[in-house]
């Protein structure tokens, strides 16, 4: 079981992801509604894994990823994006993201990504 922070400005997306994670016995320790909120919650909660939407207001997912890694270089951040955003996913991976998941969520792939990160 992992302690996971979900950062996404979409409540629909957060809820869907949370349902998948809880069904797989993970613990969702918090939810960030934008990049700034996500960074603050990361600092306060220190989760095992962060799921990070790419396109968000205030602080976008890639800038939030960079900020988190500057505080905690070993942080495990999984990027979330709609399909078709290959360039942004690549940029995030180059910046230090560990993994990525595309929407619409496929539960098996989400669980697989979490398992891979927890086994590292």
């Amino acid at each position: 079981m992992a302690r996971i922070l979900i950062v996404d400005d979409s409540i629909v997306s957060r809820t869907n992801l949370k349902t998948i994670l809880l069904d797989a016995d993970h613990q969702v320790v918090g939810e960030g509604v934008d990049g700034q909120d996500g960074l603050e919650k990361f600092m306060a909660l220190r989760p095992d894994i962060v799921t990070m939407d790419i396109t968000m207001p205030k602080l976008n997912g890639i800038d939030c990823l960079k900020a988190i890694l500057s505080h905690e270089p070993e942080a495990k951040v999984v990027m979330i994006s709609a399909l078709g955003q290959g360039a942004k996913i690549l940029e995030a991976i180059n910046c230090g993201a560990c993994h990525y998941i595309t929407k619409p969520f496929e539960p098996d792939k989400v669980i697989e990504a979490m398992s891979e990160l927890m086994s590292e």
Partner: protein
């Protein structure tokens, strides 16, 4: 999909009312298509022959197929073929209309023949409609000649229809594409796509229908066009357009999705060429917009 099209044709001809059409469309998932309808649709029997078998059925304890074979109206091979087609979804509306006494077998036979002629579809396209072949139906019905890369936009819209079926509702009635310049909307979610092709897409409708649409996609209860409903519509656009961009990416065309935006009570003014494609779902009427460049929006 055929049921919606055929039902709408019957409605426009004045053969059934809008209420009757809605009633039978709501019933269609529970209706079992019987051999008589299948035999007429396949051209194996006439309406008169089907009525004759039904008449005999009321006098003897035998099945439709048995009587039809005894009377020399069907052979074993044709009966076997019909029995294998009882899950043909396109005939559900016809069966429901006959079961409710709104239409006779003879009328069904005549209207079906008329619809084949009046639809303007080729025999192949008509078969595609019956088989619910979304790609072919979209190509047959949606013409947007001034958009340039017509094939790409038609493929885009076919994907939109598939996503409607996947996420929202499978009972869709499409109208033909219409070129637009200035268009009023009640509620609109739109998203622009940037890169080698720069175009916008949008979905508009009245508030109750858009809220129901949002609720179905989110699988969460919404209250009118509240924040959750707006968010859900945006996510639908993200998911749909993302799937399309992913497909293009496989063909080495990289485009960028801009964040979806929600607007209410306004007017969309096309700057370049734009089309709307009206469509109807069981819970409302909608317009899908697609056009090149960025449109201008004004509040009414």
């Amino acid at each position: 999909m055929f049921s919606q099209f055929f039902g709408n044709y019957l409605r426009k001809r004045g053969c059934i009312t809008l209420e009757q059409m809605r009633d039978v469309l709501a019933l269609q998932d529970t209706v079992r298509v019987k051999l008589g309808i299948l035999a007429i649709d396949a051209g194996y029997m006439t309406a008169e022959q089907v009525e004759k078998v039904h008449g005999l059925q009321s006098k003897m304890d035998k099945r439709f197929g048995e009587i039809a074979i005894e009377q020399g109206l069907l052979d074993e091979e044709k009966l076997s073929s019909l029995l294998g087609q009882q899950n043909k979804r396109h005939l559900f509306i016809s069966q429901a209309l006959i079961d409710k006494g709104i239409m006779s077998f003879e009328e069904f036979q005549d209207y079906l023949e008329d619809y084949k002629k009046d639809s303007g579809l080729s025999p192949e396209e008509f078969e595609a409609l019956k088989k619910n072949d979304i790609e072919s139906v979209t190509q047959a019905l949606v013409h947007m000649p001034e958009l340039g890369d017509t094939k790409m936009y038609v493929e885009y819209f076919a994907l939109f229809v598939r996503n409607l079926v996947r996420f929202i509702d499978g009972h869709i009635l499409l109208e033909g594409a219409q070129k637009v310049d200035l268009e009023d909307f009640d509620c609109l979610i739109h998203q622009e796509i940037d890169g080698r092709f720069k175009f916008f897409t949008g979905l508009a409708g009245a508030e109750p229908g858009m809220a129901e649409f949002a609720q179905r996609f989110a699988k969460m209860e919404v209250s009118g066009m509240d924040a959750l409903a707006r968010d859900s519509l945006g996510e639908f656009m993200n998911v749909h357009n993302g799937l399309f961009l992913s497909k293009l990416s496989n063909e080495w065309v990289e485009l960028e999705l801009l964040p979806p935006e929600y607007k209410s009570g306004g007017t969309l003014k096309a700057v370049g060429v734009a089309y709307k494609i009206p469509f109807v779902l069981p819970f409302g009427q909608f317009n899908f917009f697609i056009g090149v460049g960025s449109p201008v929006f004004n509040h009414r």
